[in-house]
């Protein structure tokens, strides 16, 4: 059906002419703005909430510590391949970077922001943050600067509301812990399609 | 204070003792009670089955019957819900609408009348028995009657109250649903009856005779030794008169 007819049918059923001016969108009254909790409290809450959804949260002092942790993990587990975008790489893991998420044991991503209330990382999938790294390998790691942790989902959607359409990436993923399902006998199982393990390093000095 | 009893169709033909108990309790509380003889049925069975014109016919007669009432007190919450929530919509305009709204504003379910209009804080009632209570759907969800009835039971001396598991679950009556979808209704009332028996209570108390008739009928079929009573009957039976011992 063509666009005019499709939309015209809707207008006719609504029993009026097409509206030139859009009526205002009803807004939720968010109440008095709560005092912004301090960074430490936000990070603590983020770590607690991520743990509640079976993710692993690690607070580290700086990026070097996070990078060292990834190298240690790869060594302990005998990883053969890492999916890590060029923007995120450092010499210590260069040898392991295969560039092929399908062959990787572990995928690394940089989060743009994180949400404390739900243990969520916000992945802004521009050229520096491919989607597959947090999706295809069986385990996924994410670096989050502590300063980017916000209290709740509404703080993210408010920021996204301020972004002009052309500046949005083709995909944004909000990821909260490992993949899960209740579909087999209503018993929870992890890693059904997405990563069964998610580790988030929250970097304090960033 | 004056109140008119709304005895309901079921109350009139099947459960007259419940109407008698409501009158007794209200009079004991100092309310003068009359019974407008023009009342028959509020029209809920027709309305809930989609027979709007037929329901309107019953509703008009019902509004006429209670024209002169100061308060109307019903033995069943679902009938009050019908009057409050659906009567104004049945008569959308004019004088009929005003009369429907006026009746809705002064019609009460029994326990709600005691709690919210009379503001009862204590009851001279003794009733020594293990008792559980079913919360009727319409009474709970449409009239907002939730903690009131249990508060009233809490004022009764000697009463051993056993909370009912899944009290908020529908008993499966649903008017013509009990007959149109009889097999589903049967499963729902079976679950309810099983929960009632699990409490070990000797008496099941309720606020709506259609629910009590339904659950009582299933309990009886199961051979359960559980008496089924309206809240008003517990209060009336146990009322301590002149220093008496109650029940």
């Amino acid at each position: 059906m063509d666009r005019e007819r499709f939309i015209g049918t809707i207008t006719a059923r609504l029993g009026r002419r097409p509206r030139a001016e859009a009526p205002p969108v009803p807004r939720r009254d968010a109440g008095a703005a709560a005092e912004a909790p301090d960074r430490e409290a936000l990070v603590r809450r983020f770590c607690e909430r991520l743990a509640e959804v079976s993710g692993t949260a690690v607070a580290v002092a700086d990026r070097a510590e996070a990078q060292a942790a990834v190298e240690r993990l790869a060594a302990e587990r005998g990883y053969q391949g890492l999916d890590c975008p060029a923007a995120l790489r450092w010499p210590g893991i260069e040898p392991l970077c295969s560039g092929d998420p399908r062959a990787a044991d572990f995928g690394l991503s940089e989060a743009r922001r994180a949400i404390a209330e739900t243990g969520t990382v916000v992945l802004w999938h521009d050229a520096a943050v491919p989607r597959a790294a947090s999706l295809v390998p069986p385990a996924a790691g994410v670096f989050v600067p502590a300063s980017t942790v916000v209290p709740r989902l509404g703080d993210i959607t408010a920021r996204l509301a301020a972004v002009a359409r052309p500046d949005l990436p083709a995909c944004i993923t909000l990821m909260s812990g490992p993949s899960r399902s209740m579909d087999i006998g209503y018993v929870s199982c992890m890693g059904v399609h997405g990563p069964g393990e998610v580790i988030v390093w929250v970097i304090a000095d960033e | 204070m004056r109140a008119s009893l709304m005895v309901t169709c079921l109350g009139d033909a099947l459960f007259p003792e419940v109407g008698e108990s409501v009158v007794t309790v209200l009079r004991n509380l100092g309310v003068s009670v009359d019974f407008p003889a023009g009342q028959t049925c509020c029209g809920q069975p027709a309305f809930n089955s989609g027979y709007v014109d037929d329901a309107r016919r019953s509703a008009r007669a019902f509004i006429d019957a209670f024209e002169g009432s100061e308060h109307v007190v019903s033995i069943s919450g679902s009938c009050v819900a019908m009057v409050r929530h659906h009567y104004p919509g049945l008569f959308p305009e004019g004088r009929d609408h005003a009369r429907a709204e006026a009746l809705a504003a002064r019609t009460w379910e029994f326990s709600q009348f005691l709690s919210d209009v009379l503001g009862v804080e204590s009851l001279p009632v003794t009733y020594r028995a293990a008792v559980t209570m079913h919360h009727s759907c319409h009474t709970m969800r449409m009239l907002g009657v939730r903690e009131g009835p249990e508060r009233l039971l809490g004022m009764v001396d000697g009463l051993d109250y056993r909370p009912l598991a899944r009290a908020q679950d529908c008993c499966g009556f649903g008017g013509t649903f009990a007959v149109k979808m009889a097999a589903i209704s049967a499963e729902m009332v079976e679950r309810k009856a099983a929960h009632v028996q699990k409490t070990g209570a000797e008496v099941l108390v309720g606020l709506d005779m259609s629910c009590l008739m339904n659950i009582g009928g299933r309990l009886r079929r199961r051979g359960a030794r559980v008496a089924v009573k309206h809240l008003a009957q517990v209060l009336a039976d146990g009322w301590r008169i002149d220093g008496g011992a109650g029940r």
Binding site: - | R27, T40, A61, C170, M181
Partner: protein, 477 residues
């Protein structure tokens, strides 16, 4: 299916569900656990009634201005490099998706669960064209293998036990798998991984469409939604036209309530906000994005007393709270949508004459209304459908006559009085104990499982009249 055949199907499915004791116990447990979790998740909100009001108003506003939002959404999807197709009905939607698929060309399709694609019977059309269609949501994968319709709008395989899934996967794999969810899930993951990697086309639904930026939002937990919309070269998202939101602030309201009400989660594992096909420089993502906006009877609901049903965000909370669903399960309600929302939307989309029994499959208890985050007035809508059924002459003549007769009786108090007296007199010899254990005709539907209280000899009005109003034994005033 004719109305009679549909009623027979309904009765048969109800009987099957009620006769399955294991299923009855399981549905009771499932609802009890689900309701407790729902209360806890919703209880975390600072003012859950205010949130529900906000969602209700937002969705009502969106539906009342749907023409404008469809226009805005379309312009923005196209500006993002996507394409929008306007499907007036199921056939148009199927035809378009087939065209896209053939044009690639497509041997294999991976699908993320979408009730709307069930509604339009898309899988069959693709398969008839020689394509392999793979449901990748674990629950949808399971019922695809069993050949059944979904049992619940969120949990399609709710009715199957662990052992049944074990048997199913063992047959499918040729291996002797244990009845362990992790092992079974791991097998499904291995089996489906290869499909994701080789499919030319990924089809998803759409939980929401944000009009202000042309963004399709997918809410999932397993990762198959992400896989299906990232790996294949083409992504088709099929959405009901009413599933739009004005902007990102509205998304906060919708997402906050969607998972808390429906799955008792603070948030789902993955939320994907898709604004067009991949951009230059993106390492992954589809080259083409098509959004199919489906009418299929939705616009007919606009401007009628049923318009509030379009506020629904398909969270599933009403199913989890409905005592009738808790007895009859999902298959009784017809192919696609079950529970209270199914009882309302199916007759509206497919015709009340084809589903005359669905609005009556409810005791009007209102548990669904209490649970619905968008405040869809489900019991009011069921009552309206029943009134329409009567108006359209769908009710049996015997019921109509009975209701008319009863109404006449209630309008004549003197006749009522006499009728009650007669009933009371007749009941004495028939039911000496005041109770009947078996009764003729329609009443046997009651007495099959319950004793039936019968009319008493002296009605209340008679006692009042004969005692001069002293029914309290004269104790009161």
């Amino acid at each position: 299916m004719t109305a009679n055949a549909e009623r027979e199907r309904f009765d048969a499915q109800v009987a099957k569900a009620l006769g399955d004791r294991r299923l009855q116990d399981w549905l009771e447990d499932f609802q009890r656990l689900g309701q407790e979790a729902h209360v806890e998740a919703m209880g975390e909100l600072d003012d859950k009634e205010a949130w529900r009001d906000a969602l209700s108003e937002l969705r009502a506003h969106t539906v009342a201005n749907l023409d404008r939002y469809v226009d805005e959404f379309t312009a923005n999807v196209e500006a993002n490099g996507g394409r929008v197709f306007f499907a007036g009905d199921a056939a148009e939607a199927r035809e378009y998706v087939l065209d896209v698929a053939r044009g690639i060309p497509t041997k294999r399709v991976v699908k993320s669960k979408s009730m709307v694609t069930e509604e339009i019977e898309l899988n069959g059309a693709l398969e008839a064209a020689g394509m392999e269609v793979v449901e990748t949501d674990l629950g949808a994968f399971i019922v695809q293998l069993t050949g059944e319709d979904p049992y619940h709008i969120i949990a399609p395989a709710l009715h199957l036990t662990l052992e049944q899934v074990r048997d199913l996967f063992s047959r499918e794999s040729g291996e002797d798998l244990p009845a362990e969810p992790d092992v079974l899930a791991a097998w499904a993951r291995r089996r489906l991984r290869e499909k994701f990697m080789t499919a030319e086309l990924g089809i998803s639904g759409g939980n929401f469409g944000i009009a202000s930026t042309g963004t399709v939002v997918l809410v999932t937990n397993e990762g198959n939604g992400r896989m299906s919309t990232t790996l294949p070269g083409t992504h088709v998202a099929v959405m009901g036209v009413e599933r739009l939101l004005p902007d990102w602030e509205g998304l906060d309201t919708a997402l906050t309530l969607l998972t808390r009400a429906g799955t008792s989660q603070r948030i789902s594992t993955y939320i994907s906000a898709i604004s067009g096909p991949r951009r230059d420089g993106d390492r992954d993502g589809p080259d083409e994005l098509h959004v199919v906006l489906l009418d299929n009877g939705r616009s007919r609901i606009l401007g009628t007393k049923y318009e509030p049903v379009l506020k629904c965000i398909r969270c599933g909370a009403c199913l989890d709270h409905c005592p009738v669903y808790g007895c009859i399960g999902g298959h009784a309600y017809s192919r696609v949508y079950s529970g209270p929302i199914g009882a309302v939307i199916t007759p509206l989309l497919e015709g009340l004459d084809a589903h005359a029994e669905l609005p009556y499959a409810s005791s009007l208890c209102g548990a669904c209304v209490d649970a619905c985050p968008a405040r869809v007035p489900l019991t009011e809508l069921l009552l309206a459908l029943r009134a329409d059924a009567v108006q359209s002459g769908l009710e049996q003549q015997s019921w109509r006559a009975g209701m008319r007769g009863y109404a006449e009786l209630t309008a004549r108090p003197a006749v009522w009085d006499a009728a009650v007296r007669v009933a009371g007199a007749l009941a004495q010899p028939l039911a000496p104990g005041g109770v009947l254990r078996s009764a003729p005709g329609l009443l046997d539907k009651w007495t099959a499982s319950r004793d039936l209280k019968t009319p008493v000899r002296r009605s209340f009005r008679r006692r009042w009249r004969e005692s001069g109003g002293r029914v309290d034994d004269g104790r009161g005033s």
